[in-house]
Amino acid sequence: MATIWLNARAEKRELPKRAAGNQIETRLMLGHNRGKNEGTGVIELENVAYSYGGGELLSDISVKLAPGSFHFLTGPSGAGKTTLLKLCYGALLPTAGHVRLFEADVRGLNRDDVALIRRRIGVVHQDVQFLDHLPVADNIALPLTVSGRHAEAGGSDLNELMGWVGLQDRAAALPPELSGGERQRAALARAVIMSPEVVLADEPTGNVDWDMSQRLLTLLVELNRMGKTVLIATHDLSLIRAAKAQVQARVLRIANRRVQLAGADL
């Protein structure tokens, strides 16, 4: 754990105080324990199909993300990775089958329930959007702000989190001033500030160079070691190969509208 933490902080010359690192870790893990369900998945798809109106894009998909598991979701561009992720955080309702988030069927959720679920599932979106008029620090704290916990955002936790993703010097910058890699790291920080039980990342390394993608991967692996359920959608197989050295990951592949477990051919 310590080495990974150091890796994450490599850009910053000074070593982080150990206590501070543990603090973040404890905070992030609390969320995991709160939602831990033995035997059932935190996210479950059962015979799910989805269509945007034309033919079915996804058919008969059954996936269960066990608490603390690490999954990749891969497939060619346009296969439906983003769509599947949206089904996993309640942004889309399945056209057939059942999606259960923390054991609750998404069809039974009202709009406020969906809002509350989003505080338990951190999402790094494919096209990350920020509030461009607010500084990066406020954007990262936004999930706290909208859930009425802004007081916590002012504290040291936010600073620690910004340090963890290496953005401590960019706190006052506005989002349009960030580089691609900085945007992705800010998005990751925003996704985990509520200590969610699950982290979904959609092409988190889409617009960044190899070094940055390794760094982001390291952060995600570290989150998984803290106990979070992680699902990364990516079409980048080299990223998956790199991850396999660090974490026990299952690879789901979308092919012919269905999800299959990918074998050793990666």
Binding site: K86, A91, H125, L131, M194
Partner: protein, 301 residues
């Protein structure tokens, strides 16, 4: 439209952080303020006109409903005789409570403003006036017929001919004043709805981001509702204050000069009526923005 108590409480409590998540809107905010102020200013005048017209209608109605005037137009030598005859007829007419011929001095006083004080009244063919106080059961048509038969020089003027249209015009004016005030309220609602829709459209991306990071609909709606309610409230408060000052500075007639123009203004508790304008404007803005926001949010997941 959904506006539950919890949301209302959150709205009133205010939230500096929530206000920051929606970017400041610059000059459109000024426009909303200005429009609300102008509307409130107009509403004050509509209300002043309405209240004044109402007072006038009541007063004219009450004063004139119970009087009638008889003119005796006859050659000088028959005037006294016909006056006596008319008084006799009036005495036996149901609904006439009191009848009294004006004295020369009283008639001279009435004419003095037009002809001067030293008018030789007895040498002029000035009709004699008989004032009557009437009560229920008075039948002006029946009396006119009787007078025509018995006192050829008598002309009955029960004031109804010119009273009725005046009273109904004043009543109509009162209703119109309220209709104008209501139209102004509706215009405020329309204006705020347009402004809120524009703000919601301009901030579509902000709203989408807020939804994605776990903001509830109420939270997002309130960020806009608070803004527009405050603008409508403060803009119209300024408009009302300026409007009240303008009404207060209007020249007023004395109490016995029942002119409409000099009567425009507020009396007593009437001054409280325009104070309702900012409250109504604020409430209307709250409901209009909430409706617009809920509609905009409905399309988002």
């Amino acid at each position: 439209m959904k506006l539950d108590l919890a949301q209302l409480r959150a709205l009133l409590a205010g939230d500096r952080q929530a206000d920051r998540v929606v970017p400041p809107s610059g000059y459109t905010a000024q426009l909303t303020l200005f429009a609300a102020g102008a509307m409130a200013f107009l509403a004050v005048f509509a209300l002043a006109l309405s209240l004044a017209a109402g007072r006038l209608a009541e007063r004219w109605g009450a004063e004139l409903a119970h009087t009638a005037t008889l003119r005796i137009v006859a050659p000088a030598d028959q005037r006294a005789e016909q006056t006596a005859a008319a008084l006799a007829v009036l005495e036996t007419t149901p609904g006439v409570a009191e009848a009294r011929a004006l004295t020369d001095a009283e008639q001279a006083a009435l004419l003095a403003p037009w002809f001067g004080a030293d008018l030789p009244l007895d040498t002029l063919p000035v009709p004699r006036l008989i004032e009557t106080k009437t009560e229920s059961g008075f039948d002006p048509t029946g009396l006119s017929l009787r007078l025509a038969a018995e006192v050829p020089g008598a002309v009955l003027d029960d004031h109804g001919r010119w009273r009725a249209p005046l009273v109904s015009a004043a009543s109509r004016l009162r209703v119109l004043g309220w209709v104008v005030a209501l139209l102004i309220v509706a215009a405020v609602a329309a204006m705020v709805t347009l402004a809120a829709n524009a703000a919601l459209a301009a901030n579509a991306q902000v709203i989408a981001v807020l939804r994605l990071v776990g903001a509830t609909d109420s939270y997002i709606a309130n960020a806009f509702v608070r803004r527009f309610t405050l603008r409508a409230l403060s803009g119209s408060a300024v408009g009302v204050i300026v409007g009240l000052l303008a009404v207060w500075l209007m020249p007023t007639g004395s109490a016995d000069a029942p002119g409409l123009l000099t009567g425009i203004g507020f009396r007593g508790a009437g001054w409280l009526v325009p104070l309702m304008v900012p409250l109504v404007a604020g409430l209307v803005a709250l409901l209009a923005t909430n409706t617009a926001a809920r509609r905009a949010l409905g399309g988002l997941t």
